[in-house]
């Protein structure tokens, strides 16, 4: 009971803090939701490529079964992925070789240090770095302690000649990596659409079929004749 009495003791400042906190959570959630929906939309448009690849062989009847459709569509999708992923893979390959050479030649350099070193050769030289191991902790309404700030920065942004390799290679890595991820997402989207299309195009349904026993009855030469339906030749 005493724990809930604090609500009556909230100052205006406390109420503003709670409101800001809630709004921050809502904003972060909304951003994530929009990002997820954007990724879904891009995936749907990438998946349409399989329609272009498979249109002619389906319409002309060359592909006449679900199994064949899936086999050929997946093969084409993989070849399409390979042809589009060559450039980002080449970028990442060159980046990998260059990073390996740099780490072997620069004294004391590590792969993680390319990102985190704030003194000489890392990308962190151009950011403000705080002492994350010793934050300022504050009580949250007497329940627990939360991080409310950090002390003075241990490094301010400065340009370092030794870090030139990090300044160039890390953006190149991100460009190549994101490009490759988009291509991988495209292949995944095409795979999902392949299975959906295979079920849709080659499935048979009796929903609109109505059996009518009088459909084959004919009046011929003053007699009622029941014609047998023509049997289809098996392929």
């Amino acid at each position: 009971m005493n724990n809930f009495m604090f609500l009556l003791k909230l100052t205006e400042n406390d109420k503003r803090m709670i409101l800001m906190f809630v709004l921050l959570i809502i904003a972060a959630l909304s951003l994530l939701i929009l990002l997820a929906l954007l990724i879904e939309k891009i995936g749907k448009s990438q998946a349409k490529r399989i329609d272009t690849l498979m249109h002619d062989v389906v319409v002309t009847g060359v592909v006449d079964s679900k199994k064949k459709f899936i086999r050929i569509a997946l093969k084409k999708s993989k070849i399409y992925f390979y042809r589009h992923a060559r450039i980002p893979m080449l970028i990442l390959f060159c980046w990998g070789i260059a990073t390996l050479v740099f780490c072997l030649t620069y004294p004391g350099a590590t792969f993680a240090g390319l990102y985190t070193d704030y003194e000489k050769y890392g990308l962190a030289t151009i950011f403000t770095i705080y002492d994350l191991e010793n934050p300022i902790m504050t009580d949250f309404f007497g329940w627990f302690k939360i991080v409310t700030g950090y002390g003075d920065p241990i490094s301010t942004p400065h340009f370092s000649v030794d870090a030139l390799f990090a300044y160039i290679s890390i953006p190149v890595f991100f460009v190549g990596g994101i490009w490759l991820l988009i291509d991988i997402q495209g292949m995944l989207a095409r795979t999902i659409r392949t299975f959906r299309l295979a079920n849709k195009i080659y499935s048979k349904t009796l929903d609109n079929v109505k059996y009518n026993s009088l459909a084959n009855v004919r009046y011929h030469d003053n007699a009622i004749v029941i014609e047998e339906p023509q049997k289809e030749e098996k392929k």
Binding site: L32, I33, A36, D56, T60, V62, I79, F81, Y82, M187
Partner: protein, 143 residues
């Protein structure tokens, strides 16, 4: 309603995002193996003078089918044109050896046996009969 549905769908994606990320990471590893395999296949094809394209043998079958259909269509067209040239065009004029005669110019003499000329049946008439008809026409005009 659409906005709410979209929002809820997005929320579901955010909640399931750890599973989706794990699944995507596994698929990314698989796609790297796919890339390596296709690279090997492309290299082999390159050194044997071919190219790795999305045009498979089924697409070549489609091209063949389309070419055959084109040829059939061309042959059909040529046949129809040839047929049109051979068949004569029927006329609707009444002619007697290249002289056009209106019905009122024909002699109305029931005793005479004037050959009937049908539109599509141009019958040859003897010169003697033509002279007789000309004389009769000339006589009527004089009257």
């Amino acid at each position: 309603m659409k906005v709410i549905k979209g929002f809820l769908k997005g929320l579901l994606y955010v909640i399931l995002s750890p599973l989706i990320i794990v699944g995507f990471a596994l698929y990314a590893v698989y796609s790297l193996f796919v890339f390596i395999w296709e690279f090997i296949v492309a290299s082999i094809k390159f050194f044997s003078g071919k190219k790795l394209t999305t045009e498979l043998k089924e697409d070549k079958m489609v091209k063949q089918l389309v070419e055959e259909k084109d040829k059939e269509y061309q042959l059909q067209k040529e046949k129809e044109q040839a047929q049109a040239e051979i068949t004569p065009q029927p006329t609707s004029n009444t002619t007697i050896n290249n002289f056009y005669i209106t019905p009122d110019q024909l002699p109305i003499n029931q005793s005479q046996n004037i050959p009937s000329i049908e539109n599509n049946n141009v019958q040859a008439i003897e010169n003697k009969e033509i002279l007789e008809i000309e004389e009769q026409i000339g006589g009527d005009e004089n009257e």
